[in-house]
């Protein structure tokens, strides 16, 4: 038991978790509104789309790469599929929207995957480039503008309540839409793949050391290729969730999200150098960012200072996780020395 406790406290996740709790208590003291059902639901609902993007980004970073194209990819796939359904006067349920968007997302992800995996180009440069291409294609070829009406199936999916929380003191009712289920599915599936499949272990292996991964028999190129396809699919699903929840499609609305998502993933203890990090850490880190962003008003931080506050939390969090990894590294070395 003692050993288990020790190892828990060595992990990065527990510290992020503690920061989250501490912040929660702080917000509770300042506003008395943190530990209320509707606030929790609000936070979870704000977490849905960034959460899915974070899982996608997490994969890229674990594999030693990075992806800054996912907002553009998600926008393009979500825009194209909403447009297709609108043009067809589609009034069925939401599944078709997800299928079309994820197919487009897979295709766009394959472009990234081909350039990064098979041509072995730098992931940052490639995704910066494809991000512009996706945006340009959307604005140029598709002449994208705001779609203020979306198919009824999508609208219902994004607004019907999965969990409804009513605050008894002020009678405010918040709803958690069904899109939350999509986030749960994405997390569950990726957790399973990363932990129990050769492909998933391969993602960790090529991020840790591509040469040794290749030597022990992982197909590095193919793993990267398929991984970026999966990233594209998750991002596209996230895009559709966003459209459903907003009840409208705005083509540029998601652009610029990448930096905060990357910050959240790194906050969760995922190494930017690749090969190390957990899905739980990634989700906790992202949740911390969402929490900070959506608690500034509750905390009473003036608008002029809220960016500073968000920045400080990111820096402190990353510093903590860096310190943590150095400490683990040291103990490992010590153990190796003792063994020798």
């Amino acid at each position: 038991m003692n050993k288990k406790l020790k190892s828990t406290f060595k992990s990065n996740e527990i510290y992020i978790f503690l920061i989250i709790i501490a912040l929660g208590i702080l917000v509770q003291i300042r506003s008395g509104q943190f530990f209320t059902g509707n606030n929790m639901v609000d936070l979870l609902s704000a977490m849905i789309v960034p959460g899915m993007f974070a899982v996608a980004e997490f994969l890229a970073i674990i594999a030693g790469g990075i992806d800054v194209s996912f907002p553009a990819l998600a926008s393009l796939s979500a825009y194209a599929s909403t447009r297709i359904l609108l043009d067809q006067n589609y009034d069925g349920n939401v599944i078709l929207a997800f299928v079309i968007a994820m197919a487009i997302g897979a295709l766009l992800g394959a472009v990234n995957g081909f350039l990064i995996g098979y041509l072995n180009l730098n992931a940052m440069i490639v995704t910066l480039g494809t991000s512009s291409v996706f945006q340009g294609f959307m604005q140029g070829a598709l002449r994208a503008k705001q779609l203020s009406v979306i198919p009824s199936g999508m609208k219902e999916f994004g607004t019907n309540s999965f969990i409804t929380a009513t605050n008894k003191t002020n009678n405010l009712t918040s709803i958690l839409p069904y899109t939350f289920i999509i986030l749960l599915i994405v997390c569950a599936v990726m957790f399973f793949i990363l932990r129990y499949t050769i492909f998933g272990r391969g993602i960790y292996a090529i991020g840790g050391n591509p040469v040794s991964a290749h030597t022990v028999g992982f197909n590095v190129k193919r793993t990267k290729f398929f991984m970026y396809i999966i990233i594209g699919m998750i991002a596209a699903a996230g895009g559709i969730c966003r459209v459903c929840m907003m009840q409208q499609m705005h083509p540029t609305n998601m652009l610029g999200m990448e930096m905060n998502i990357i910050a959240g993933v790194v906050l969760g203890g995922v190494a930017l150098t690749g090969g190390a990090g957990t899905l739980i850490g990634c989700i906790l880190g992202t949740f911390l960012i969402i929490l900070v962003q959506n608690s500034m008003i509750l905390l009473g931080v003036p608008t002029t200072w809220s960016n500073v506050f968000v920045g400080i939390v990111i820096v402190v969090g990353v510093a903590l996780s860096a310190y943590q990894s150095i400490r683990t590294e040291k103990t490992k070395k010590k153990l190796v020395k003792e063994a020798a």
Partner: protein, 363 residues
């Protein structure tokens, strides 16, 4: 462990499936409103001396939009056509195709070569357009611009309103929705956005002078939406949670009010919490008809187009242009000079968009 995961997976799948079941519930309250921007000013327009003269002399006045395919400028074309129909002035809006600064400059060069009498332009790019307009003025052509206050080689530039005037107008709309009482706060795209903050400042100023029962939320007088409907939505929910007395949010960017409206809908606060702000009609038709938003504010491009042509007539006729200037176009009847500028004229060309007129704009 594996069993646990399998169970979790199954559970999420089942939940996912139930989530996809849907019941259809359609609310369509399509209202057809007539698409005519006409008013009593229209009749005065036809009898205006300068306009009469323009019609008699057959002066040719060309309007150059940014992008003639954009619904905004299609609406402007409607206004210009109506001007021609009611007054007999030879004015028309040219077809520019897609938005393109170089192409627009080329079209103006062509108009100069054709020898039109006046060019009214909404510039895509101020710098490149200014060079071409110099040529037009050298050729003796009257140049009127709209939304191009930085242009130097123009006779006049028309702005629909002053920032202060528009801010006050948004406040009038919010006050009406709130019943002129209660606590409100303001929302801008960012604290560094020039015009949004000027509108919000002017709105607060106007409230202090005219609505004594309304108060600005002291703890948080201005929040940011980052020009993003989702941020506006989350900020609104947070504000409502934190300040139970808050009754309204005055939006400025076109993402503010629609985002806040989503929060109002979700929290079940319709008719208890109010918002208004700039908004495009078509994008917000549903929200306006459902009553979550009572009104939005905007300016009408049809009127801007008519105001440009009307002013061109006056300049061509040699009338002296002095403030307050009456162009006999709604919202442009008491135009004033912008402080520190001799060419920029500002009107009161704001309009309220509500459930009744939202379908009449065509954009």
């Amino acid at each position: 462990m594996k069993k646990g995961i399998a169970a979790l997976l199954c559970a999420t799948m089942v939940l996912g499936l139930t989530a996809c079941g849907s019941d259809t519930k359609e609310t369509s309250g399509e209202k057809k409103a007539e698409a005519s921007p006409a008013s009593e000013n229209q009749s005065q327009l036809a009898s205006d001396e300068a306009v009469k003269k323009a019609s008699d002399e057959g002066w040719e006045i060309a309007v150059v939009p940014k992008d003639s395919t954009n619904p905004w400028f299609v609406r402007m074309d409607t206004g210009v056509e109506e001007f021609a129909d009611t007054t007999g002035v030879n004015c028309y809006q040219i077809d520019t195709g897609e938005i393109d600064a170089t192409h627009q400059a080329q079209m103006v060069e062509d108009l100069i070569a054709q020898g039109v009498d006046a060019i009214c332009v909404v510039p895509v790019d101020v710098e490149s357009m200014d060079v071409v307009l110099k040529k037009a003025q050298d050729a003796g052509i009257v140049v009127i611009a709209h939304e191009g206050a930085e242009l130097k080689n123009v006779d006049y530039d028309i702005e629909a309103f002053s920032n202060a005037g528009y801010g006050a107008f948004i406040m009038q709309n919010l006050a009406e929705a709130m019943g002129e009482e209660g606590v409100y706060t303001t929302m801008v795209a960012s604290l560094t956005n020039g015009s949004h903050n000027e509108w919000a400042d002017a709105a607060v100023e106007y409230q202090k002078e005219n609505y004594p029962k309304m108060t600005l939320l002291e703890e948080n007088p201005r929040v940011e939406s980052n020009d993003n409907g989702d941020t506006a939505y989350n900020a609104a929910k947070e504000l409502i949670k934190t300040y139970p007395d808050l009754k309204g949010i005055l939006g400025t960017s076109s993402y503010d009010a629609p985002g806040v409206a989503r929060a109002i809908q979700e929290l079940g606060l319709q008719d208890k919490f109010f918002t208004t702000g700039t908004g495009m009609p078509a994008d917000n038709a549903e929200l306006l008809k459902s009553g979550v938003i009572k009104s939005l504010t905007l300016w009408d491009p049809a009127m801007s187009g008519q105001a440009m042509v009307s002013l061109a007539c006056k300049v061509l006729a040699g009338e002296s242009i002095t403030a307050p200037l009456n162009l006999n176009v709604d919202g442009y009847t008491e135009m004033t000079e912008r402080e520190g500028s001799k060419t920029v004229l500002e009107g009161q060309g704001w309009v309220t968009i509500d459930a009744d007129n939202v379908d009449s704009f065509g954009f």
